[in-house]
């Protein structure tokens, strides 16, 4: 009895090899291995392409090799950089809106200071307007202001209608991307209700670019209006504003014209956002807060320190030799 038990245990001792390694019951091997080579020759090898190959992960040598295999020349590098010269890339001497404009009283220290500065700048504005008049004889501030408001409304309407072609007529190339920013795949409902105060020119500047004759004019117009805005996402869900809520909007819009250009037009160039603007309304879209990245605390072990010390010691004489 005991003998058999021991023998069984012995068998178990050998057995684990079979139990630990899973044996395959099905094999793809033919039962006659004799004609294996001939059988393999029945199917011709085809070099299958890998359409989902990650090219960015390949080394440059590998890419070169692959291109050589296919006989493709490397793509020519794009050495050009586009420039647009019929609009400037910013606002020169921007207007500084007085603090609390539209609601606060005129009596405050910053307001008083700004009033003094404004007087100083006014003469410059007058000069600039005179210069504009030298190019554009029929330039009249009162008329211009209504023309500007019209442009302002048209620009916003074409943005809401997603009419890119029309938007280019009312907006300079610098403002175009800023206008279109974040408007992709969204439905915008915008409505201009009324003007609370008549728009007025608050600032004007002229600058020459590159040559003396190449002059750009920039005029800042103050709009105090009442508007409605509602933004819907792709699925028609409200993400910003409301269609039943009117809001008072105070804006300083810079209009620009390429004065030297015979066919130049006054277009929206930028919006001046003062420091004292109230903070933006948070988005109605809520998101799960991303988990904070774990702080990796690097602990320098003694070994690494020693290695580093050795490295600096080894490096130091090399520099000394030089």
């Amino acid at each position: 009895m005991a003998n058999t038990l021991i023998s069984k245990l012995g068998a178990l001792r050998i057995a684990p090899v079979i139990f630990t390694q899973p044996a395959r019951t099905t094999t793809t091997k033919h039962y006659i291995p004799k004609f294996k080579k001939l059988r393999a020759q029945k199917v011709l090898k085809v070099d299958l392409p890998n359409p989902n190959e990650d090219i960015s992960a390949l080394s440059p040598e590998k890419i070169r090799q692959k291109m050589k295999e296919r006989g493709i020349l490397p793509p020519r590098q794009w050495m050009e950089r586009p420039f647009y010269i019929s609009a400037t890339g910013g606002v020169f001497e921007p207007y500084v809106p007085p603090e609390g404009d539209g609601k606060a009283s005129l009596v405050s220290t910053t307001r008083a200071k700004q009033a003094v500065q404004l007087l100083e700048k006014k003469s410059k504005s007058m000069m600039a307007i005179r210069k504009i008049k030298s190019f554009e004889e029929e330039f009249d501030q009162k008329e211009f202001v209504f023309q500007a408001q019209n442009t302002y409304i048209k620009a916003h309407e074409s943005l809401a209608n997603d009419d890119k072609r029309a938007l280019r007529l009312y907006v300079t190339e610098k403002a175009y991307p800023e206008f279109r920013h974040n408007s992709r795949m969204k439905t915008i409902r915008w409505k201009f209700l009324e003007s609370l105060e008549p728009p007025r020119v608050v600032h004007a500047r002229c600058t020459d670019v590159v040559s003396k004759e190449n002059i750009f004019g920039q005029v800042t117009v103050r709009f105090h209006t009442r508007q409605q805005l509602a933004v819907y996402d792709r699925f028609g869900r409200l993400i910003h504003g409301s269609e039943i809520l009117a809001k008072d909007v105070l804006e300083y819009i810079v209009f620009e014209k390429h004065l030297s250009n015979l066919y130049g037009t006054w277009r929206i160039h930028e919006k001046i956002i003062p420091d004292w603007t109230p903070p933006k309304e948070p988005s109605k879209l809520t998101r799960v807060m991303p988990e904070p990245e774990p702080n990796i605390v690097q602990v320098e072990s003694e070994e690494t320190k020693q290695v580093e010390a050795g490295a600096t010691a080894a490096a130091a004489p090399a520099i000394a030799d030089k």
Binding site: V43, L44, L48, P51, N52, F235, R237, L285, V288
Partner: protein, 204 residues
């Protein structure tokens, strides 16, 4: 025979290059951008009309595809229909236990789509998604040659497949495949409804 195949390939390549002036693009015939399905992803670009506040918000969805997988579309179909109507988490969990090559691709596609939904399609919670559509399609097929007896030839098809998935926001329907039959009460109600709906000709 081997030589013959090589010659076939060579002529094919040559004609391919001669067909147009743009040699580079035709030489890159296997590139990703060409010959991949585009229609399914166009659903992602559709903009729906705004809803009024009293309406139930439209569930967000995202369409995603994985193209030219080296796998049979017929085999992939079984896996594709397996995950239909599951929540995303459930689908991923189930797929990790499916002992098939295609399950890996399907799982990857679902996870990618989930990521896209959160990043680009205004979905707040990544688990709040279900597999609304899932199907496979045939990709490119490369034909090889196989030798038969008496100097005959056979065709070997090296098939590639596409996998398409649409994830929708919200809870999945209780019984997507309608596996469970109706309860007796529901059956009776249905029957009554049917009886009441019938029209008796020339009655009035």
């Amino acid at each position: 025979m081997n030589q013959l195949f090589k010659n076939l390939c060579l002529t094919n390549l040559k004609t391919n290059q001669l067909k147009s002036i743009h040699t580079s693009s035709s030489a890159l015939a296997w590139s990703k951008t060409e010959n991949i399905p585009k229609r399914f992803l166009r659903h992602n670009k559709k903009i729906y009309p705004p809803q009024s506040p009293d309406e139930e918000p439209r569930p967000a969805f995202v369409c995603h595809q994985k193209t030219n997988i080296k796998y049979s579309p017929d085999k992939l179909w079984y896996i594709a229909s397996f995950v239909r109507g599951m929540t995303v988490d459930e689908a991923v969990k189930q797929l990790s236990f499916v002992n098939k090559k295609g399950a890996i691709f399907v799982k990857e596609a679902i996870l990618e789509a989930q990521e896209l939904a959160v990043k680009e399609h205004n979905v707040e919670f990544r688990s709040n998604l279900w597999v609304a559509e899932s199907f496979s399609g045939q990709g490119m097929v490369i034909k090889g040659i196989r030798r038969h007896a008496r100097g005959r030839m056979g065709e070997v098809r090296y098939q590639f497949s596409h996998y398409f998935v649409r994830l929708e926001e919200g809870k999945p329907p209780a019984d997507y495949y309608k596996i469970n039959p109706l309860t007796p009460q529901e059956q009776l109600d249905n029957w009554l409804e049917q009886m009441r709906k019938r029209k008796i000709i020339n009655s009035y």
